[in-house]
């Protein structure tokens, strides 16, 4: 069997050392570098995507104008949803009076936390029972207002209309609604 010369052994050792150095370089430097690069690239893509979404929101308008418009819309919606109990009761009676409906009594119940996924806001449900007197058409118009332009978010839960069946305009009506009041947390 041929024995390796001193020179050949030297070449093999250096070759092995070089191979080990390359492997160490790949494991300790190249792969971590690639991982960091990938992380930065992903973060960059995410950020760029968020910026693009914001650009879409502004719809090509000036940023200040877009912010003003969004704030205006937010204020309108907040005024509608972030209403307090007193303002709600006043609105219920004012709107009824406006339609010549006689509010005999109005009984707000206990406000309870409403289970809703609305991050940043606490939602309270306030039941309100009303005994009113008025005509069928007026009550229909009142319900239309509650469902439409009423300055608070309300849901009609119960409606009971009683009359003598003679087509009179002063029907006895019991109306139970739930108002949803939001508070910023």
């Amino acid at each position: 069997m041929n024995r390796l010369s001193k020179e050949q052994k030297k070449i093999i050792y250096i070759g092995l050392i070089l191979a080990a150095a390359i492997l160490l370089f790949i494991a300790l430097i190249y792969l971590p570098q690639q991982r960091r690069l990938r992380e930065i690239r992903d973060e960059l893509n995410r950020t760029q995507q968020q910026i693009n979404e914001i650009h879409l929101l502004t719809a090509g308008r000036d940023l200040n104008e877009a912010i003003r418009d969004l704030n205006l819309r937010l204020k309108k919606l907040s005024d509608y949803l972030l209403i307090d109990d007193k303002k709600l009761i006043n609105s219920l009676t004012d709107q009824a009076r406006d339609l010549n409906i006689d509010v005999r009594d109005l009984d707000p119940g206990n406000k309870a936390l409403f289970n809703s996924a609305t991050p940043g806001y606490a939602v309270y449900a306030l039941p309100v029972a009303m005994n009113i007197k008025g005509g069928y058409k007026e009550v229909g118009d009142y319900c239309a207002r509650l469902e439409g332009d009423f300055p608070a978010l309300v849901r009609i839960d119960k409606l009971d209309i009683r009359g003598k069946g003679t087509g009179e305009a002063d029907l006895d009506i019991r109306l139970v609604i739930t108002a949803f009041l939001l508070k910023e947390q």
Binding site: L18, A21, L81
Partner: protein, 152 residues
């Protein structure tokens, strides 16, 4: 041999420096893009709040039965001769009833009202629950009725 080792070392060093420079350049780009995003974040926060509130209002309104529309439809469907004395709508229980009276021999109008209610889309399973004659011949005989229904 020494030269080969030197070239290999040089190659790895250049590779390392190039990698670090690449990372630094992308990091710098990311920083500038993130700075841009911070400027825009007011828009994003306002939009997020707006979406949250809009979704909530839409969710609540979506669950509601349109009461005004229902009342209007009902008043238009009632044939002559039928008189309501009570109308009870319970949207929590998704059910209701109507009490009233109809002139004797005009009960067909009641069936028509029930059929129209069922096809209106506002009511489901409307049916005559009670129908009984009432009053004397001199007073003009009437039938009292009770219609029960559910909300779809």
């Amino acid at each position: 041999m020494r030269w080969i080792a030197f070239v290999a070392f040089l190659f790895l060093a250049v590779f390392f420096i190039f990698g670090q420079a690449n990372i630094a350049a992308r990091r710098k780009h990311l920083d500038s893009v993130q700075a841009e995003l911070r400027v825009f974040s007011e828009v994003q926060q306002t939009k997020y709040k707006l979406d949250t509130l809009s979704n909530f209002a839409r969710e609540i309104k979506g669950r509601n039965v349109p009461v005004a529309g229902l009342m209007k439809k009902l008043s238009m469907s009632v044939p002559a001769g039928i008189i309501f004395t009570e109308m009870n709508l319970d949207f929590d229980l998704k059910s209701g009833y109507i009490n009233g009276s109809v002139r004797v021999n005009e009960e067909k109008a009641l069936t028509k009202l029930v059929d129209e209610s069922n096809s209106s889309g506002f009511f489901a399973d409307a049916a005559i629950d009670i129908l009984e004659k009432n009053g004397t011949a001199e007073e003009g005989q009437k039938s009292n009725f009770k219609i029960v229904f559910k909300f779809p």
